[in-house]
């Protein structure tokens, strides 16, 4: 294909792919001696920030080794930076924790409380752009060729962003990237329309617009979609379930060029959308024939035969969604680009292969320290890690956080040359130990999922509350289930989860047997409870791109929320 034949969107993707060459090759180069690059990164950061208030307080200028850095600088948490951050935002002060310009604050996903404001400096944004966009496009091109470059993306990410004050934004970094793109490109809206299947009303939705309908409707109209961008894979799965449940209405609308009256949106949005659709009887007939055959076989290759790529976060707690998408809807031809570990504080790792749940840590984006799980005061550098072992992550980033405890636990799964490959396991505060049993989120998830498989129950989501006030202390499980075709009793489900959890974590089983922990309790939640949780969090200002289901209930607000919505 000649460059002249490439569409507007294709040229945009091609620019990212070409720009990604250097990023991709540099990363491969760094895999040979990642510790060298990571050490260089640390000293560059110390030098750059030696005259900041934090740098002077801890004498960055005279730190000569990693050991000295570790002995002089304390470990830190968000609260250690709050005063500085408030001064930066309210009084416009600079050079407090970073010499870099900070014009964006990321919203942390948080809990039901107020979200945090995590500084994201210009260099931090650049690093995210470099790796999440350029590297990803290059990786896909390297592995799959460029056939996909001319197709459109089904985008399910939310790009809403707030402005704290002129020029200072607050929201997800991905939204900031979109905003910067908008400032750089004159025909930005045309570009978005050309790249994404959903119209602008679905990309920047008004409150209370039925966005799922818009995404599903416009995606079904386009049989040439090649890729899906879904901040979390769970969002794509929700869309597929929505299509399965509502295909008759969607096909009817596509056939007639209408929007059903039951679909919620303002008159203005409806009018605008109606101006963008027309009757598509041929496509509607084709879809009708496909859907009438049912959903027992993967539907994606039938409705979107060119779809090849699904980009998003699908590891860790999202693993069950990933499995369901592949098994039930996608079949073997959909390639998963499982984005690595990206948090409000920094991008930490990126995939270096498709369909891999492991990702490579980025030695030029953070200085990394790793605390082996269960150890005290041991902080290893990336060259000292052991494969198969689990570690808590401590980072020094580009935006003014030093030896910052991220709260994420990762497992080292292998190496690419000398660069450690990791998998996100769980948040360290998502580790339950009511009586020293140390149950991980993974064990809880496995116990719940194995039970659901055994009983053929379709699980929407689960949470667990470690109840210290019952006597003896006990685990309380909350399940939202879509269907329970065999009407398995609550008691049988509870006993099965308890048995499986006892096998997965023998310490838990031992404590149940000895009555140190009480018998597990189980509650069913109303339908749509997790959707409500998501709606509420979005109302409180959390970006949907950052929302994760609260598998372990960690605070009173969450506890009250889930107990109030039991059946």
């Amino acid at each position: 294909m000649s460059i002249d034949d490439v569409s507007f969107a294709g040229k945009f993707f091609l620019e990212k792919y070409s720009g990604g060459k250097e990023v991709y090759e540099n990363l491969l180069e760094m895999t040979k001696d990642p510790m060298k690059y990571n050490e260089e990164f640390l000293f560059k950061i110390l030098d750059k920030n030696k005259n900041t208030e934090y740098g002077q307080k801890y004498d960055f200028a005279n730190i000569k080794s990693i050991e000295e850095y570790q002995s002089k600088i304390p470990l830190s948490e968000y609260d250690d930076y709050v005063e500085y951050i408030l001064s930066m935002i309210i009084d416009n002060r600079s050079d407090l924790i970073t010499a870099d310009k900070v014009d964006h604050y990321s919203k942390s996903s948080g809990t039901l409380g107020n979200p945090k404001k995590i500084p994201c400096s210009a260099s931090g944004q650049e690093a995210i752009m470099k790796y999440s966009e350029y590297h990803t496009f290059r990786l896909i091109g390297e592995k799959l060729g460029l056939d996909w470059i001319d197709g459109r993306i089904l985008n399910l990410s939310d790009f809403s962003i707030d402005e704290i004050k002129p020029g200072i934004t607050y929201g997800a970094v991905s939204s900031k990237m979109m905003m910067l793109l908008g400032k750089k490109i004159d025909n930005y809206v045309d570009l978005l329309q050309s790249i994404f299947t959903s119209p602008i009303e679905g990309v920047f939705p008004e409150p209370s617009t039925d966005v799922r309908y818009i995404h599903a409707r416009f995606a079904l109209m386009d049989e040439n979609i090649v890729s899906v961008l879904s901040s979390f894979y769970s969002i794509f799965l929700e869309l597929l379930v929505y299509i399965e449940e509502n295909w008759k209405l969607l096909v009817k609308d596509i056939n007639k060029g209408t929007i059903d009256e039951s679909i919620k949106m303002s008159n203005k949005v409806r009018e605008s959308l109606l101006g963008k659709v027309q009757p598509m009887s041929e496509r509607a007939d084709a879809l009708n024939k496909i859907f009438e055959q049912g959903f027992n076989e993967p539907i994606i290759p039938k409705i979107w035969p060119k779809m090849k790529i699904l980009v998003g976060i699908g590891t860790g707690g999202f693993f069950n969604y990933t499995t369901k998408i592949k098994k039930k809807y996608a079949g073997k031809d959909l390639n998963l680009v499982l984005l690595g570990l990206i948090s409000s504080e920094s991008i930490v790792s990126v995939p270096i292969d498709l369909n891999s749940h492991s990702s490579a840590i980025l030695p030029d984006v953070c200085f990394f320290e790793f605390k082996p799980v269960g150890s005290d005061d041991v902080y290893l550098t990336l060259d000292k890690l052991e494969e198969g072992k689990d570690y808590e992550l401590i980072i020094t980033n580009l935006s003014g956080f030093y030896r910052y405890k991220m709260g994420d636990v990762i497992r080292v799964t292998g190496r690419y040359n000398n660069l450690p490959l990791i998998q996100f396991l769980y948040r360290s505060n998502q580790n339950v130990s009511l009586a020293g049993e140390k149950t991980t989120e993974i064990a809880l998830r496995e116990a719940a999922e194995r039970t659901m498989r055994d009983f053929n129950i379709d699980l929407m989501e689960f949470s667990m509350y470690p109840d210290p006030d019952s006597s003896p202390a006990s685990y309380v499980f909350f399940l939202e289930i879509n269907s329970n075709p065999n009407n398995v009793s609550k008691e049988d489900i509870r006993d099965s989860i308890e048995e499986k959890l006892s096998n997965l974590n023998p310490s838990y089983g031992d404590k149940i047997e000895k009555n140190v922990l009480g018998k597990m309790q189980l509650h069913f939640l109303h339908k749509e409870t997790y959707l409500l949780y998501r709606d509420l969090m979005i109302t409180k200002g959390i970006s949907s791109n950052q929302l994760k289901p609260p598998r372990i209930i960690v605070n009173e607000a969450q506890r009250r929320f889930f107990f109030a919505l039991t059946k």
Binding site: L112, P207, S208, E261, H526, D535, L536, T539, R560, L565
Partner: protein
């Protein structure tokens, strides 16, 4: 038979919606359908929940999305909430979001 009864009164830009019975997954759709036509044309909405004795997650989602719409175009008040529903509002932090009389 429907588990909900909805009485709607529209006076120029003001709408009063009396909801009684159970606002569950199925009846939430009914409430949604009742609201959607009039919502774009009003700037004041009053929900009277005197007869509402149960609200599920789906019902809460409708209330929340309606509040978001009204935040943009006027005001919304919820009144005569019974103790049971108020407990749910309180536990789910809806009391921070809604204007409850």
């Amino acid at each position: 038979m429907s588990s909900i009864n909805i009485e709607k009164k529209v006076e120029e830009k003001k709408m009063i919606v009396k909801v009684s019975g159970r606002l569950d997954t199925i009846s939430s759709t009914e409430l949604n359908n009742e609201l959607k036509d009039d919502l774009p044309n009003i700037n004041e909405l009053i929900f009277d929940f005197e007869g509402l004795n149960y609200i599920s997650s789906s019902g809460l989602r409708i209330i929340l999305s309606t509040q978001k719409v009204m935040n943009k175009q006027g005001k919304m008040t919820v009144k005569n909430v019974n103790d049971f529903v108020m407990e749910v509002f309180d536990a789910t932090s809806f009391t921070d979001i809604l204007n409850i009389e």
